[in-house]
Amino acid sequence: MIDSLYEFFSFTDPNVNYVLAGTVLLGISAGALGCFAVLRRRALVGDAVAHAVLPGVCLAFIVVGDKNPFALLLGALIFGWLGIIVMDYIIQNSKISPDASIGMVLSVFFGFGVLLLTFIQSSGNVNQSGLDAFLFGKAASMVPLDVIVFGTLSVLIIICIILTFKELKLVSFDIGYAQAIGYPVKKIEFLIATLMVMTITVGLQAVGVVLMASMLIIPAAAARFWTTSLAYMVIIASVVGAFSGVAGSFVSYLAPAMPTGPWIVLAALSAFLFSFMFAPKKGEIARFIIHQKNKKNVNDENILKTMFLLEEADERKQRGRSIGEILKRRRMYPSTAKKGLNRLVRQNLVEKYAGQPDLYMLTDKGRKRGQRIVRVHRLWELYLTDQVQIAGDHVHDDAESMEHLITPEIEAQLTKVLENPLIDPHKSKIPES
C-alpha cells in the first residue's frame, strides 16, 4: 500500500499521470460549476442531465462503432441538451411541477440508455468492453486521447467560469434584476446549461452517469461551510473536487477492476463531513462550542441578576450571600451555581465576602451588570403589557429569555418609547441604567 502510494505520487508512470491530470481537471471544473448549480437550486437538474446523457453516449457508440471521445462527446451534448429542453418544456406547458418533470426526464432517459447499453452488450462488438464503465466510472479506462479531449474541455469550462464570473454571480443571485438592467439572461442561462452538460460529459469515464451529480453537488456543499464569499466558495469547491479526483485515480491505480465513481464520491463525502464537523462558525463543533458559551453566559447573568435582586430585597450591599441563599431565590443546579460563581470571581464580577470561602458578594462591576439585566427584564415586561397589550401575568417567562438578548440600542429605544419609566407591570422599581 505504502509502495503503491509512493509509486503513484512519484509521477513516473505516464499512464497514471494522464489519468490523474484528467480527474483533477474534472474535479476542478465540476466543483466550480457545481457552486452555481447549488446556489441556483438546480442541483437536481444536474442529476437528471447526467442520467440523460447515457442514451446519447450509447447511440454515438452504435453509430461510430468504438469509443471515439469526439463521438461520445457529441452524443452526450445532444442528449444532455435534449433532457434540459424536455424538462423546461414540461414545466412551462403543463401543471406538472419541476420536481416531477426532473424525475421523469431522469428515469425515462436513463431507462432508454440502459436499454441501448444492453443492446450493445448483446451485439458482440469487441470494442464495447468498458462501455459499462459509463455507469459507475472507471478512471483507468481513460486512454491518452480521452484525457486530451476531456482535459481540454475541462480547461475550457474553467476559463469560461473565470471570464463570466460576474455574469454568473448576478444571474445566480438575482435573475430578475439581471434582466432589468438588460443582461442577456437567456444567453447566460444557456451558457450555464451548456457548461453543465460539458462537465457531465467530461466526468463520464471517471465518475459515470449515475454518480456524476455528486461531483457537482458535494464539493459545493462542503465549500459552503467555509466561506461567505462566492469567489472563495468556487475555489474551495474546486480544491475538494480535485482532491476527490486524485482519490479516484489512486483507487483505480490500486485496483483497476474497481469502479472509480463510488470512490470519488466517498472522497468528496469525507471532505463534506470534515467541513460539516470542523468548519469555523458553521461547523457542528463550532456551533456546539458557541451554544455552550451562550449557556454559560446566560447562567452567569442569572446569578448576577439573582444577587442583585437579593440586595434589592434587603437593601444591603455589604453582605455575603451563600449559594443556598441564591438557590432559594432562583432554582438551578448547585453545581452549576458553584461553577458560575467561580467564573464570576475570576472575571472580577463577584468577590468572596471577607475572605470566607462560601459567601459571595457583588463587585461594583458585577452589580452594574446585574442591575442592567433586571432593568432590561422589567423594561421588556412593561413594553409587552403597555405597547403589545399582553396580559401582565404572561410576560415574565418571555422577559426571562429576552433579558439576555436585548442590545443596548434596543434598551435605549425601549426607554424612549416607554418615556423613561420607573415602575414595571408588577410594581417593581425599574433600576437606572
Binding site: 446556489l39 460576474k166 454571480k169 438575482d174 432589468a180 461567505t228 464569499s229
Partner: protein, 259 residues
C-alpha cells in the same frame, strides 16, 4: 418634453390569464408617484412590465420616447426584498456593486470608479459601516436599504421600487423617505408600489390607483379621494372579474391592435 415613462394600452396576461387591462398613462417628471391597489391588483406586474420582465399581451412602453432596450441605463429597478436568497455568499458591497454592472460591458470587472460610486450609494442609505457584512446578517430594513443602494449606484433618471416600505423598521422608513425626497430634488422620477394608505398623501405627490385596470391617476389632491379609493378597493368589479374567470377557462387570444 418627453415623459419619463409612457405606457400605451398595456394589457398583460400570465399564462394567458389577463392581470392588467388597457393601462395607459404618462409618468410625471420629477415626482414621487405611489402605485396603490389591493392584493392581486397587478401593481408588481405593472412595474415588471415596464422593466420588460414580463411580456405584454398588447400595448407598449416608452422611456423618454424610446423603447426600453435603448434606455436601460436611465431606469433603475428595486425588486421586492423577498425575491432573492439572502443566504447567498456575498457581502453588502458586492451586492451594491451589481448596480454598476449595467454600465459595464460584458466580461469587464468593476473598477475603482465603480467602487467609489457603490460606496457613495451605501453612504446615502446609511449602510457604509456595514459594507463588509455578509448579507444574511442584515435585518429586514437593512436589506431594503442595501437594495436601494444598488439602484442608486446605477445613477439612473427613473426609479421603480416594488414595496420598499414593506416590513421595515421606523428608522429605515424615514431613511427611505428622505432618500426619495433627495431623488426628487435631484430631478429624478420615482414610482413606488405602496401598500400603506395612511402615508400616501404625506409621502407622495402623485398616485396611480390600480385594480386590474387603472382606476385613477393624477396629483394626490385631485384623485386621492374616497370615491376613487372605493372604486379601487371596494368590492370586486363584477363583470370584469367574470370575464377574467372566463379567460382562465377558455383559451385567451389577444388580437393585435388595428391602429
Amino acid at each position: 418634453m418627453l415623459p419619463p415613462i409612457e405606457v400605451h394600452d398595456l394589457t398583460l396576461a400570465y399564462n394567458k390569464k389577463p392581470v392588467l387591462w388597457d393601462i395607459d398613462f404618462d409618468l410625471a417628471e420629477s415626482k414621487l408617484i405611489a402605485v396603490i391597489g389591493p392584493n392581486g391588483a397587478g401593481k408588481s406586474t405593472l412595474i415588471k412590465a415596464i422593466m420588460g420582465l414580463v411580456q405584454p399581451a398588447s400595448g407598449h412602453v416608452l422611456i423618454y420616447g424610446k423603447p426600453l432596450d435603448k434606455q436601460r441605463e436611465k431606469i433603475a429597478y428595486v425588486p421586492q426584498r423577498e425575491s432573492v436568497d439572502w443566504d447567498f455568499p456575498i457581502n453588502v458591497l458586492d451586492l451594491v456593486i451589481m448596480g454598476r454592472y449595467s454600465h459595464l460591458k460584458l466580461f469587464r470587472r468593476p473598477g475603482k470608479e465603480d467602487l467609489k460610486i457603490a460606496r457613495d450609494a451605501l453612504e446615502k442609505v446609511g449602510m457604509l459601516p456595514f459594507e463588509k457584512r455578509q448579507i444574511s446578517q442584515l435585518s429586514g430594513g437593512q436589506q431594503q436599504r442595501v437594495f436601494l443602494a444598488r439602484a442608486l449606484a446605477q445613477e439612473a433618471q427613473i426609479y421603480l421600487m416594488d414595496e420598499p416600505f414593506s416590513g421595515v423598521d421606523a428608522a429605515t422608513e424615514s431613511a427611505i423617505l428622505e432618500l426619495l425626497k433627495e431623488l426628487r430634488s435631484a430631478g429624478k422620477t420615482v414610482m413606488v408600489v405602496h401598500h400603506d394608505l395612511q402615508t400616501v398623501a404625506e409621502y407622495f405627490d402623485w398616485v396611480l390607483m390600480l385594480n386590474l385596470r387603472m382606476v385613477a391617476y393624477g396629483p394626490n389632491k385631485e384623485v386621492f379621494n374616497n370615491e376613487n379609493l372605493q372604486k379601487t378597493y371596494g368590492g370586486r368589479l363584477n363583470i370584469l372579474t367574470q370575464v377574467v374567470e372566463l379567460t382562465k377557462e377558455k383559451d385567451f387570444v389577444r388580437e393585435p391592435g388595428h391602429d
